[in-house]
């Protein structure tokens, strides 16, 4: 195994949710993920950026084996996860850690920290309590909840937001996974804590050579964390590029709009209006024909963008789903 072997391969993934009329009649599909393809290598970090409702959470849940793909495949370590059954799925889930967005909501309020962190070990058959406690203490040191004795018997509500998020991270890595999926891990935290948690995650990633999928809507944090960035819009990945290249030279008009809308602290911001695409993201039940961004796109080409769906096109080191780069 070299670090450039493929760990996770997503192939033409579609996740559709059926809409029902009066509980049974078919009324179309919500096409939450509609044709996503990418490879993730061992030890690689990628960021998936997009607005709410663009399908990033559905994509993540499919990778975690919670949603079933409608079409396409999720291949983890050369095995198709849709073929997994109970025991395989449990083993698979022990190899992926999941860091939730809202730490307080993700921790059971009636369990103390020791119990929360032991749970994955119990499920995965570590029967010796002393061994479990040793591993719980070790992982708490890793996430700098130290000394562990101060925290082991506390309940989640006794901890600050940053500490709660550390517990969630500890739980995600306690089984020594190969992949961690972090769904907006810092969006609920304060500015001063946010950076601390991101640095902690990056430190763990480097130490254990973890592959990380970092899901966020905040472009300003991606460059501290990921090698590649995928931008999602209305169920499609519209741009894939290395992080520095996307920050300095976004290609897709939607990525450009996202960049333009992101502020850096600067008093001059108050003096000017921002140029933004009009309208709102489309319905995923009945997405626009052709390019899904075309109704809002300032650079659209008539009779092309509204008719034909754009292919992934190579532009420098970007892959862009946009006709401008043909």
């Amino acid at each position: 195994m070299t670090t450039r072997d493929v760990l996770l391969s997503i192939q033409d993934l579609h996740v559709w949710f059926e809409l029902r009329r009066f509980g049974f009649g078919h009324a179309g599909y919500v096409k939450a993920v509609d044709g996503v393809t990418f490879d993730l290598h061992y030890g690689e970090t990628i960021a998936i950026v997009g607005e709410s409702g663009c399908g990033k959470t559905s994509l993540m849940k499919t990778i975690l084996g919670i949603n079933k793909p409608t079409r396409g495949k999720v291949i983890f370590d050369n095995k198709d996860i849709s073929a997994f059954h109970a025991e395989d799925l449990r083993l698979y889930r022990s190899k992926i850690g999941y860091v939730q967005q809202d730490p307080f909501g993700a921790l059971a309020p009636f369990m103390n920290i020791q119990r929360i962190l032991e749970e994955p070990l119990i499920i995965n058959g570590i029967k010796d309590p002393a061994e479990r406690e040793r591993r719980v203490r070790k992982v708490m040191e890793e996430v700098r909840l130290s000394p562990p004795d101060d925290f082991l018997h506390k309940y989640p509500h006794m901890l600050s937001g940053g500490q709660q998020q550390r517990v969630v991270i500890a739980r995600a890595i306690i089984l020594e996974p190969q992949l961690v999926v972090a769904d907006e891990p810092v969006s609920m935290l304060d500015a001063s804590v946010r950076v601390e948690i991101l640095k902690l995650l990056r430190g763990l990633q480097e130490k254990y050579k973890l592959a990380v999928i970092y899901i966020t809507h905040d472009l300003s944090t991606v460059r501290y964390f990921s090698e590649r960035v995928f931008v999602m819009y209305a169920g499609n990945v519209v741009e894939k590029a290395p992080v520095n290249s996307i920050v300095h030279n976004p290609k897709h008009p939607y990525t450009q709009a996202l960049m333009d809308a992101t502020s850096d602290p600067d008093a001059d911001n108050a003096l000017k209006y921002r140029e933004l695409p009009a309208g709102e993201p489309p319905s995923l039940v009945n997405p626009p024909s052709g390019c899904r961004f075309h109704p809002r796109c300032p650079q659209r080409i008539e009779n092309l963008c509204d008719v034909e769906e754009p292919q992934d096109l190579q532009a420098d080191d970007h892959l862009v789903a946009c006709w401008l780069y043909k």
Binding site: E51, S52, S160, G161, G162, D190, A191, S192, V193, R194, V195, E196, L198, K199, H217, D218, L219, S220, T221, R223, Y224, V247, A257, L258, M259, D260, A261, T262, S263, D264, P265, D266, A267, N269, A270, Y273, R274, L276, P277, E280
Partner: protein, 319 residues
């Protein structure tokens, strides 16, 4: 009293009773705000920002143990007014609020038009049609199509609901609107759109804003002045241009350094430790335990120093 300021707050205090003792949520807040200006109140969660909004509008819960200080709005002292005077002349007449998570605070069983028109009927005693016309005018100002007046909250997207909440605060033409985290639950593009709307309103309607937020980067979109809050107290009041280029208080500096930047290649730093409990805040400077520049004097309460018009509550700046 000086009348060149729209709002002038002096030593505002709001403490709550709890089982464990009084929580000093707002403890000596001061700042001034001119006409047609926006001040940003920056602070981490739990520093008393939202309590400050409640204290200004007198939307107080029952467990208040101490509430005092002076607030001058358009030259009039409003803290001394009795409840009825305050309701009739101040709240939603001269000063209104866009509450936190405003888009989820709309009434689900009333049409949004009715909700936006209601303050006009209550406070200005106008007829329903006239109130509706005014509501329609406000919808245009905030960029919601006028035919949305007949819709219910669930038929609108998050950004649209937020605009409706802003329209509701503006319908009675107040001089001051307090915005409590107006964009924290919104997407990047929607957020930028709301700030465009607020900037335009500031110009067109000549309204002032108090913007309460923890998001430093987006707060610069609207700020003329900045007030930094820490553990219930104001630690720095500054002009936006000077603040965003070089803040003075050690806490403000560290807060600025913790902002991830999209365009500049600087590694963000974090502040170690946690803000103190407001139940029993430390004597002296409340930031001292986390401050890299603390020295012997920091165990005493720091005075507010004036550095070229910037007010800083820190011993470093006393000569």
């Amino acid at each position: 009293m000086p009348t060149e300021n729209l709002l002038s707050i002096k030593d505002l205090v709001l403490h709550f009773n709890t089982q464990k003792g009084p929580v000093q949520a707002v403890d000596g807040v001061f700042f001034d705000l001119g006409y047609k200006e926006a001040v940003v109140v920056l602070g981490e969660s739990g520093c008393g920002k939202s309590s400050l909004a409640k204290a200004l509008l007198r939307l107080l819960p029952r467990n208040v143990s101490k509430y005092g200080g002076q607030v001058y709005l358009e030259g009039n002292e409003i803290m001394g007014m009795d409840e009825e005077q305050f309701r009739q002349n101040i709240r939603w007449v001269r000063m209104s609020l866009v509450p936190q998570a405003a888009m989820n605070s709309l009434n689900p069983v009333l049409k949004v038009g009715d909700q936006v028109a209601e303050p006009m009927i209550v406070h200005h005693g106008v007829k329903k049609e006239e109130a509706y016309n005014q509501a329609a005018k406000m919808f245009q100002h905030v960029g919601v199509p006028v035919d949305f007046l007949d819709r219910y909250a669930f038929e609108l997207s998050g950004g649209m609901r937020q605009r409706v909440a802003i329209a509701m605060a503006l319908v009675t033409a107040p001089a001051l609107v307090i915005l409590d985290e107006p964009t924290s639950a919104l997407d990047v593009l929607t957020q930028a759109n709301i700030f465009n709307v607020l900037k335009r309103l500031k110009k067109e309607l000549e309204v002032s804003f108090v913007l309460i937020t923890h998001d430093i980067a987006t707060s610069s979109e609207l700020a003329d002045r900045v007030a930094v809050m820490y553990a219930g107290q104001i630690v720095e009041v500054s002009d936006a241009h000077r603040f965003f280029s070089e803040p003075l208080h050690p806490y403000s500096r560290m807060l600025m350094a913790s902002v991830p930047r999209l365009r500049a290649n600087v590694e963000p730093e974090f502040i170690t430790g946690q803000p103190p409990s407001l139940l029993n805040p430390p004597k002296g400077c409340r930031f001292a335990s986390r401050c890299p520049k603390r020295f012997a004097k920091c165990t005493e309460e720091p005075p507010v120093a004036n550095v070229d018009g910037i007010q800083v509550k820190c011993w470093l700046y006393t000569s």
